[in-house]
């Protein structure tokens, strides 16, 4: 959460002159989104979020993301609708950085999801997968399974520094994940970062999803694996099987999983834990001590990896309580 770019009055005025959304009444930086600067913008015609894209988001990917948000909105999914400027463009620029305006979504993100929240989140994820069908844009998941070995290679010493012997364990994980990684499962647009801070609720019901800046083409069930890690672990590191069942049941209330997808879930969740472990490890190393944003602790995901690893050894299915 941060505001990296300070916008002057003249810059805001020049930017808004390109849009037909009225005069500004409120403009406040908000603590939302780790990678970008976000501002609450209220005008005489409504409320919006102005986003300035900072590091990490590649400008050439922005048409894919904004086009997806527009597609989802037009297909009934509750996500922020990008606002086109007078010339029909979704993407503009402020101070040489890419910038966009989208509609403001009401709703509350939850920090400690209940079982009921997990069910709603699962339903919302399936809805997103369905709404994204037919979106003509495509983006390869550059943080997907094929990328992990390459991501880890320069980080081996860092892993051992975190925990002696960890690099060899990760090597073995990567090998196992490569062998077990499923093929031929249903695929399409996935959110790929469907964490609790990117999901809004109203009265306990799923209300909206935000932050589509990791969206890409991948297996739908992999997206569910990301959620199992993000929504179903307790603060003490234990896996909450009840939450996991609720998440999956909520998902299946809109989009039933095939037998092959269900069978692959433990491996997909293990892989999803690997993806977040690796990027956090990389950020951990590359963030200078005085940075404004503290990197997230990679050890949280190292512990999740260990849970998945143990479950795999135990048969692969017990994690989600299929045998119960």
């Amino acid at each position: 959460m941060a505001v990296y770019t300070d916008i002057t009055d003249a810059e805001l005025e020049a930017f808004l002159a390109d849009f037909d959304i009225g005069a500004p009444l409120v403009f406040k930086g908000i603590a939302e989104g780790v990678e970008n600067s976000n501002f609450l913008l209220e005008t005489t015609t409504g409320r919006f979020i102005l986003t300035i894209y900072e590091r990490r988001v590649r400008p050439e990917d922005l048409p894919y993301f904004l086009g997806l948000m527009r597609w989802l909105g037009e297909h009934g999914f509750p996500s922020a609708l990008p606002i086109a400027d007078r010339r029909g463009r979704l993407l503009s620029a402020i101070r040489g950085k890419p910038a966009a305006i989208a509609s403001f979504m009401t709703g509350l993100a939850v920090r400690r999801p209940s079982v009921a929240h997990c069910r709603e989140a699962g339903m919302g994820l399936a809805w997103l997968h369905q709404a994204g069908e037919g979106y003509p844009g495509h983006r390869v998941n550059d943080l997907g399974q094929a990328a992990w070995a390459g991501l880890f290679a320069p980080l081996r010493a860092e892993a051992d520094a975190l925990k002696p012997g960890l690099a060899a364990v990760i090597d073995q994980d990567l090998d196992t994940l490569g062998r077990l990684w499923p093929e031929g499962l249903p695929a399409g647009v996935v959110h790929a970062d469907f964490f609790p801070d990117n999901v809004f609720f109203r009265d306990g019901a799923f209300a909206a999803a935000i932050d589509f800046y990791f969206a890409c083409d991948d297996l739908y069930a992999y997206d569910l694996g990301v959620c199992l890690n993000a929504w179903c672990f307790e603060a003490d590191g234990s896996f909450n099987v009840t939450s996991a069942r609720a998440l999956i049941a909520g998902y299946e209330s809109r989009r039933p999983l095939s037998a092959a997808e269900k069978a692959a879930l433990p491996v997909l969740a293990w892989g999803a834990a690997m993806r977040f472990f690796l990027t956090r490890l990389k950020d951990w190393r590359s963030t200078p001590a005085g940075a404004l944003v503290r990197p997230k602790d990679p050890m949280e995901y190292e512990r999740k990896l260990a849970v998945h690893r143990a479950a795999q050894v135990g048969g692969g299915l017990m994690l989600f309580g299929e045998t119960a």
Copy 2:
């Protein structure tokens, strides 16, 4: 700008249970206020700012500040109105920290005030002074003229580290300010931090003032001196006499200054520059390298001190162009 305290869902729920303002629809940390954590809170009944008071604000001063905000609102001045809980209390607590809810004010702060903004700001400051008359609360200005020598004593080495020889210059300034400091001028409630980021405009007109957490009893004209420093210097360090005249004219449109107040303005503005130089110098030294909030550069105010010092030598009045 920062959010220091992360609030869980359960904490927000427990907090709001004490208030009769409906259920939450939006809750977002906002980048406003340096010393406190501020959140945009929208409920089924309206919009509010929830503030959690962090370091620097002394809890025992909060009843004065919140009472003043209530007084100002009840006397027609546009500032955020604190909301009482079901038991009539303006001050509550979240995670052991003092917290309060106030109404949400629309309006835009300006980063580069125009001459017209300066006139409006001056008018708003005089309005604030008038509206505060009769407020029964009192608070000594613990950052006022009497406190500066004591503030500076432990910072002399730091001053010389910033600029060799600076400590001796500041010593002399403090001596001169002590000798020239006016007595008997009109006094009352002052804002004491009426900077552009604490003043909102709508359609170019003064709309509201926020952040009363330095308010205290002091000379009204001293508050105007704070504004002359905060609103009328260009980015290159030069003093904009046109802006200063507009600020003073705007002030006098509501509350004419006495001849004695006008005569004292150069010294009061010099002293106001000293106050901000000293607190920034202190923060500069005491902020660890890895802090989330970067301290403001004391050298900005060292340069303003130099401008006031030179004007004083030149007769004391030329700064504001009285002779033009």
